[in-house]
């Protein structure tokens, strides 16, 4: 939690354009955006997203470090641990045998897909500027369900029993005046096509689809000195959701969060989990 605030503070201190968070929020959730920002669902009461496992402690056995690898540098600020190929594997796998599965390096699926789904949901519900103030933890059949309530009453659910992916609860019978949907500052096509890699002759020369991209948005905002579509503060607010859910799941209980003070009021135990000491010589 502390690291996110420091990134925002540095961006604001030097008046720099910093874009972050999910690249999917405009593309993947556009249909939901149009319905919700268009007002047809009325007041948005809740959204459920489905994320899978949280990360866990890794205790894989020691293996010989490959000659080509600086293992100490790979570990960086994380606690020392023995090399194991699966510990540092870059595979997109949060269920084990890749770094995303282990809590010294990642939150697991809750921070992996959570960054996308929570980012999309907070955009759809228009609570990007906020952080939750109440975190309710329950578990059904061993599967945690975490509800994060915002100051305006909106509730973001993670794995609500019986609810599907991106299930939106609006207010039946109510309509609200439509709001213009924010988009990228740059509508020009920028760069190679999605998925194009170096040497990808098939896609060479193709351009991104109409409507711009987060990359073009960033460049345009650097030119204009304005905040980007995915301003870093919104990314940090999204990650706050992921981390608050993680703390609740770690402690197996509900929490109260003070976004202004970035602390759990009167909860010394939970406050110990808002940051971690980094292995020297790294620090923040």
């Amino acid at each position: 939690m502390r690291e996110g605030r420091l990134v925002v503070n540095a961006a604001r201190r030097y008046h720099r354009v910093v874009s972050g968070g999910s690249q999917r929020v405009l593309e993947d959730y556009r249909g939901h955006l149009e319905r919700c920002w268009g007002g047809e669902l009325g007041t948005i009461k809740s959204i459920n997203v489905v994320t899978n496992n949280f990360s866990s402690l890794c205790n894989l056995p020691e293996e010989p470090v490959p000659e080509s690898m600086d293992w100490n540098m790979w570990l960086g600020p994380a606690p020392w641990a023995p090399y194991n190929a699966s510990r540092c594997s870059g595979r997109y796998d949060t269920s084990g045998n890749a770094w995303r599965a282990y809590n010294d390096y990642s939150g697991g699926d809750i921070t992996d897909w959570g960054a996308h789904h929570f980012g999309g949901a907070t955009f759809v519900a228009d609570v990007r500027d906020l952080q939750p103030t109440k975190v309710a933890y329950t578990a059904t059949g061993g599967r945690p369900h975490i509800s994060l309530e915002y100051p305006n009453g909106f509730v973001l659910h993670s794995c609500r029993p019986g609810a599907g992916q991106f299930q939106i609860e609006g207010t039946p019978g109510e309509t609200r005046p439509p709001k213009p949907i924010p988009s990228y500052a740059d509508s020009r096509e920028v760069g190679a096509a999605e998925g194009a890699k170096d040497g990808d002759t098939k896609n060479k020369g193709k351009r991104r689809r109409q409507g711009g991209s987060i990359y073009g948005d960033f460049i345009e905002c650097v030119r204009s000195g304005t905040r980007p579509f995915r301003d870093i503060e919104w990314a940090v607010n999204t990650m706050a959701v992921c981390h608050l859910a993680t703390v609740a799941n770690t402690l197996k209980r509900s929490l109260v969060w003070d976004p202004a003070k970035q602390e759990f009021p009167g909860d010394a135990e939970a406050n110990r989990l808002v940051d971690r000491a980094r292995r020297e010589p790294w620090y923040l």
Binding site: R13, R276, R278, R279, E280, Y283
Partner: protein, 231 residues
């Protein structure tokens, strides 16, 4: 079951079945609200740190003490701060303790350890933000070890204390350290402003502006001064 887990912990190594020690992890959570049980658990965990248990076991204990540790664990953790392999894990717990004994242990270690371990102590003291740490950190701003001096500057910058701001603005940094100290001064001023201490924040911003800073620092300080209600 807990006794078996403590037995397994003595020889615990990476690669073993984690279920052997999982009852310890479960107990760290389950003992919340049961002061006697948690106190006993803490004492048994801290005792492992003073034995010849494996590194792997001691690392796990430090992780668990983040949750259940109190001032009672500080001596055992403090005993690891000079240990090159375990110093970080001792800080991993101590940095998060609200108890002032943890800060004192880190300050004591700052005066004794060498090399990169001092950087660790300085950074943890900055995160803790205790007034008693300002003087020892301030004394490091002119250290010949630039990495250590840089860590000390950032540590002071992390504190929402007028004393920390005063230490930074009073420093006479080398050319190599000027930008670092200025950045830390800005960070400290932001914390003071957020805490409602406009006067101390304004003093820091004006001190920076008076020192002919580089353009990014000058602009940041000018914005800060404006946020304080200054010109």
């Amino acid at each position: 079951m807990l006794d078996q887990a403590f037995d397994a912990l003595k020889t615990y190594t990476w690669g073993q079945d984690r279920n052997l020690v999982k009852p310890l992890e479960d107990a760290a959570i389950a003992t919340r609200g049961d002061a006697a049980a948690r106190k006993e658990l803490e004492a048994r965990l801290a005792a492992v740190l003073t034995t010849d248990a494996t590194y792997d076991a001691k690392q796990l204990v430090c992780r668990l003490l983040v949750l259940v540790g109190t001032a009672a664990s500080v001596p055992a953790l403090a005993g690891l701060l000079a240990d090159k392999k375990l110093s970080h894990m001792a800080r991993y717990a101590l940095e998060r303790f609200a108890e002032p004994e943890a800060g004192q242990a880190l300050r004591d270690a700052l005066a004794k350890v060498g090399g990169e371990l001092r950087i660790g102590m300085a950074s943890s003291l900055g995160v803790r933000g205790e007034a008693a740490s300002v003087a020892p950190l301030g004394a490091l701003l002119g250290d010949g070890d630039v990495a250590l001096a840089t860590a000390a500057a950032h540590a002071l910058g992390a504190m929402a204390l007028p004393e920390a701001s005063a230490a930074l603005t009073a420093a006479k940094p080398s050319d190599e350290m000027k930008a670092t100290v200025a950045d830390a001064t800005l960070a400290c001023a932001e914390k003071l402003l957020a805490a409602g201490n406009k006067a101390a924040a304004l003093k820091a911003y004006e001190s920076l502006l008076a020192a002919s800073p580089s353009e990014p620092i000058r602009e940041a300080a000018a914005r800060g001064r404006q946020a304080c209600g200054g010109a």
